[in-house]
Amino acid sequence: MARRTLVFAALLLALALALVASLALGAVKVPAREVIDILLGNGHGGPDQQIIESLRLPRTVEAMIVGAALGIAGAILQGALANPLASPDVIGVTGGAGFGAILIIILFPGSIALLPVGALFFGLLAATLVFAFAWSGRNRGSTGKVILAGIAMLSLFTAGTTGLLAAYPERAPSAIFFIAGGLTSSGWQELETIWPYFAAGFLLAACLIRPLDRLALGDDVAASLGSRPQLIRLAAGIAAALLAAASAAIAGLLGFLGLVVPHVVRMAGGTSSHTFVVPASAIGGAALLAAGDTLARTLRAPIEMPVGPFMVILGVPLFLWLLRKAV
């Protein structure tokens, strides 16, 4: 228990540091003390406060929400499907969202404001198709059927995306930022549209923590305790689809985060209890994405790079170090 408390404290510290760094660093550097004063409502006005409040704060909040959402999506999917390789990829969301976004970028470049809606719509559509196939016929809702239907849907939508890029190669460069994954400094506008999907996903995920712990003891024990295993899996899939599709709408394709963060917190905390793993994945994901985004926009400022590769650079060494210790 002490180990888990320690990991939680470390994650919260990392989140606080990432928050301050994300607000302080960029093309214009703002001293950390001033950042904290502004956050506490003791700012003195001026350009620094304006940069932080109108540009960096929305972006940092987006990074933290998306990071938390992807961390939770991975944690609940891995728990519900009892599969360490589960992530939003395996329920088709990533493939669908990628197709939806590229469709807008390639075919409707004049309506780029529709990109988040396209990503969200096709992400949820792909997940719906996965659930529809997985919950039909024999062995309805079995883990194997969900994963296989998800991989089939991922392949289908990825083929669609590749086809679009091949058909319009001159427009492909504008799609790279979305595919690699990255945040923008566009204020609160995107969050204002997408937040209900995050809210529904977070709420459903919170309600699933206890049922997922029951499911970890097997379908029979879960059923003995009054739960319906297939319903838990379906609800976990819906929550993960909402969170991952909403994340893709804001930050592009960041599949790595949803796969790796739950493993890292599980190995660091030494437990697979969802009471620990789900909230710790949320904090860890938020800290990792906020830190990765800060690196992505400061290393070659004022040029911004996609956050996806930086997150991988930050996360993989830690993951491999923990993996070596665990095995």
């Binding site: 024999r138 029951r214 029979d220 697979s272």
Partner: protein
Amino acid sequence: MAHGEGLSRGRGSLWRTHGPMGVAEGPPEGPPAPAQLLEAHGIEVEIGGTPILRGADLGLKAGELTAVVGPNGAGKSTLVRAVSGLQKMATGSARWQGREVSEMRGRELAGLRAFVPQRMPVPAGVTVREAVTIGRSARLRPLRRLAAADHEGIARAMERARVARFAERTLTTLSGGELQRVQIAIGLAQEAPVLIADEPTSQLDLGATIGVASLLRDLVGEGLAVLLVVHDLALAAAIADTVVVVSEGRTVATGAAAEVLSAERLATVWGADARLSAREGRTALHVAWLREQPLGRPNS
């Protein structure tokens, strides 16, 4: 505790039987008949188009241990899963205290019976106390935290299942026997009047089997009703008040072990030349291991 202590303490069929079992001492006269908790009739189950149960019956009384026995593939586990609400029935009726199992919600069923599977998955890093706490969650409303009474219930379940002394160990470090008792503790944390255990001793060594058997018998002594699927006929005869024999999807006999596990039935149901004996608190199955199967039973 010493192995075998529970067997000699309980009031299983050894102490209620006559004739070939060799012991003729009955329970004291006078106590009222135990209440009927479960009445199941004509249960039929199909899995993937294959009929598994073809009209099985099962009953369970309060404060009694009923053992379900039968050959491999007879439908024992399917029968207890069906009456537990874990397996959908094609036809038939399973009533818990008068209420049909298919009409009850999961939470309501969880208050009536706890189901202990043969072997549960063992999640990494989860301690015994945490696992039993998960069992207690059956009594909690969603998002509601544990109250003092729940912590007491968890401690009580661990004490009753004799797992309290290793409550802080993780499940992955436990032996097979310890893990089986933890599974029973998870069921006890539900505080349901019935515990249903599906072959809890099938993967255990002799000592661990005796430990689980004596635990189940002691729980019955505390007033719990236990429904037990078991392969070991000598064990069933030692600890069960009632033995139900299932064969080819049907219930073929119900009663005291001495009555239903006769040499003739062992021959017709299991295809074995064998007889069961009980003497001085011990039961044994005497089998002619290398003799031709008398009735040529196909599935050995």
